[in-house]
Symmetry: none
Subunit: 342 residues, 2 copies
C-alpha cells in the first residue's frame, strides 16, 4: 500500500525552498536530547541525520560523560554538555529552557539511557517543550520514560513516538491495549490511548497511525496553536510505508529515523510560522507528514547502504545515503545537489 | 557589481609566491581564539580554513573544556587550552602575549560563547593584539563583546568585523546608526562610527565597507604602522561581492569566512613585513583586500559544496572545496595543485 499521492503532495509543501529566500535557521533548528555514559553514537546519528536531510542547525543536549565523543564525530554539531549529574534541577531548567527557545523541535531519547538523572532531565525537558508547544519526537529510552508515566505525553498532539517492535509491544501493554485488538489496528489504538499522539510503528513496513477519537485528545493542553478546532476535529488514520529498506538490522537505524522525522517536524514548524509556504496545511497534520517523510527517506537510505555494504553494513554507511535517498523519494529538484541525482 | 580588476590585481600581490623562496611561517601564522563548553566546531572551521586557503600554521586558543574535541578534528591544528576559567588573569596575559608574538593575525570569536571568563580573556587578547598592531578579525560572540563596549575596537583600522544579518542589525544599533540611513549605506556608516574598522556585512551579497572620514579614525592609536599618514588620508569605499554562493544557510559558513579572511590578513602582514612582494600596497589597504578575497573564496566554496550535496550540505563539506575555489577565483596557477584545477 503505497503512500497516497495527496499525502506526498502535502509533504512537499513543507520542504523549505532552495531559492535563497531563507536565512540561517529557517530550514530548521533541531535539538537531540540524549547521550550519557554508555551511548554516544545514537545522539550523533539522530543529530547528523537531521543536518543531512536538510536542517540548518543541529544541537545535542547531553551529559558531560558523552560530550567529547559526540563532538569529535562531527564539527557540524553543537553539543551542550549541560546535563550534569551533580547540577541542580533549577540550573538545568534554566539552561534547557533557554536552549529550547532557540529550537523548532526536540528529539528525546537517542542514547538517553536509564540513569536516574538523565531520565529526570528528560522529563523536565519534555515538560518544558510541552509548555512551549514544541514538536517532539520520542524514541528509545524516552519511550521507556513515558511508558512509566503515560501522562507525560498523553494528549500532546505535537508528539511523534517511534517504537520498534519490542518498544511497541511494551508501550501497547503500558497504555492497556487489549490483546484481542488485531495487529494491524494496534498502532491506532495506541495513538488513541495516548490522546492523539502520532505513532510510527517501525517494522517490516512502517505504520504511521493517529487516532484522536479518544477522550484525552480533546484536553485543553492538546490544543494545536492556530487551530482551535484541533480538539474537536476527530481524526482516525493509518498510513503504511512499504518502501524497501535494507535487509540488515544493524543498531542505530532508529536514530537516523528520529533525526529525519525531527528535521521534517522542524520544517513543519518553520512552515507553520510562515517562513515559507501558504500555511494551508493545519498544524495537526504536520506530525503525520513528518513521520511519513522520515520513514520513507530512512528506509531508502537503509536499502541503499545495504546494497553497497551487504551483511557488513553499519549505520554510519547510511549517512551519505540520506541526500540521495531524499532525491529518490521526492525528486532530485527537491534535493538540489548532485547527490540528489545519484 | 563585480569586484574591479584593479582590486583583484592588488589582491594577487598579497598572495605568497609558491616558488620555494619562503620558509615555514612566511605564508602566515594564524590564531583563532574561541572554543569553550558549547562550541568546538566553529574554531575548528576557522582554523582549518586558514590552512586550506594557504596559511602555514594555524593555532586555536581555547578553553580546556573544548580542547580535546578540537584537537580530535585535525592533527594539523595546534590547540592551546590556556583559557582556564580558574587561571589568573596575569598568567593568561603572559601566555597570550607570548603566543600572539608568534602570530600574524588573531581571529576572535568563532565558538567564543558568552561565558564571563571567555569574554574576559577575549577582551584581554584584543587589547594585547592592538598593542602589537596585529591584524584582527572579529566575528560571532566577539561582535557581541565589542557591541557592549565599542571602544574596544573603535579606531583600530587593522580590524575587520564580519557580522551576519542579525549581528549587523545589532551592531548598527549599538554604534547608533540612524534608522533613516538607506540599507546600502549602512555598512559604511557602521565603519565610520567604528572609526574606520572594515565591515564585511554578510548577506545575499557581501558588502565590504570602509569609511575613515569619522573622528575616531584619526586617533593616534589607529595609526597603521609604516604609514604615518593613515589618520590623514580619508577613505570611503564600499565593494560588493556578488560571487554565487550556495543556497543553504547551514551554520558554520561564517567560521570558514573568518578563517579565510584571517589567512589573507596574515599574508598581508607577511607582505607588509617584506617576506615577499614590493610593498607598494599600503597597510591600510590590506583589511579591505583580505575581506574581499575571503568573501570571494568562501562564497565559491559554499556554491561548490552545495552543488554537490544539495539540501544536505554541511559546513564540513566546504573544507575540501576551498582549494578548488581559490583556483577558480584567482586562477589555477595561484593555487598550484591539481585541486586548483578542479
Amino acid at each position: 500500500m503505497p503512500i497516497p499521492r495527496a499525502v506526498l503532495d502535502q509533504l512537499k509543501q513543507i520542504i523549505p525552498p532552495l531559492n535563497g529566500s531563507l536565512h540561517k535557521g529557517q530550514s530548521g533548528r533541531v535539538g537531540v536530547l540524549g547521550g550519557a555514559l554508555d551511548y554516544t553514537g545514537a545522539p550523533f546519528f539522530a543529530a547528523i541525520s537531521a543536518l543531512r536531510i536538510g536542517a540548518d542547525l543541529s544541537h545535542v543536549i547531553c551529559s558531560p560523560t558523552a560530550a567529547q565523543a559526540i563532538k569529535s564525530y562531527s564539527p557540524d554539531l553543537i553539543v551542550h554538555p549541560i546535563l550534569r549529574e551533580d547540577s541542580s534541577h533549577d540550573k538545568v531548567r534554566g539552561e534547557l529552557d533557554s536552549l529550547l527557545s532557540r529550537l523548532h523541535v526536540l528529539i528525546l531519547g537517542p542514547g538517553l539511557g536509564r540513569e536516574d538523572y538523565m531520565q529526570s532531565y528528560a522529563k523536565l525537558a519534555l515538560s518544558l517543550a510541552r509548555s512551549r508547544a514544541m514538536f517532539v519526537v520520542l524514541d528509545a529510552d524516552a519511550l521507556w520514560m513515558v511508558g512509566q508515566d503515560i501522562s507525560l505525553v498523553k494528549g500532546y498532539r505535537r508528539a511523534v513516538v517511534t517504537p520498534n517492535v519490542v518498544e511497541f509491544k511494551r508501550l501497547s501493554e503500558q497504555v492497556g491495549v487489549d490483546k484481542d485488538v488485531p495487529q494491524r489496528e494496534r498502532s491506532q489504538e495506541v495513538s488513541k490511548r495516548l490522546g492523539g499522539v502520532v505513532v510510527l510503528e517501525k517494522g517490516k513496513t512502517d505504520l504511521i497511525a493517529i487516532d484522536t477519537t479518544g477522550e484525552a485528545a480533546s484536553l485543553e493542553e492538546s490544543k494545536i496553536s492556530g487551530e482551535h478546532e484541533a480538539g474537536k476535529v476527530k481524526v482516525k488514520e493509518v498510513l503504511e510505508v512499504d518502501v524497501e529498506g535494507g535487509l540488515k538490522r544493524c543498531g542505530g537505524q532508529g536514530d537516523i529515523l528520529s533525526g529525519t522525522v525531527g528535521a521534517m517536524l522542524a520544517w513543519g514548524k518553520c512552515y507553520e510560522d510562515g517562513a515559507f509556504g501558504d500555511q494551508n496545511i493545519p498544524a495537526s497534520r504536520l506530525p503525520v507528514l513528518a513521520a511519513v517523510g522520515g520513514s520513507m527517506v530512512t528506509r531508502t537510505a537503509s536499502r541503499r547502504a545495504f546494497q553497497k555494504q551487504g551483511r557488513g553494513v553499519v549505520t554510519e554507511d547510511m549517512i551519505p545515503e540520506i541526500g540521495p535517498s531524499f532525491g529518490e523519494v521526492f525528486g532530485a529538484e527537491f534535493q538540489g545537489g548532485e547527490k540528489g541525482r545519484l
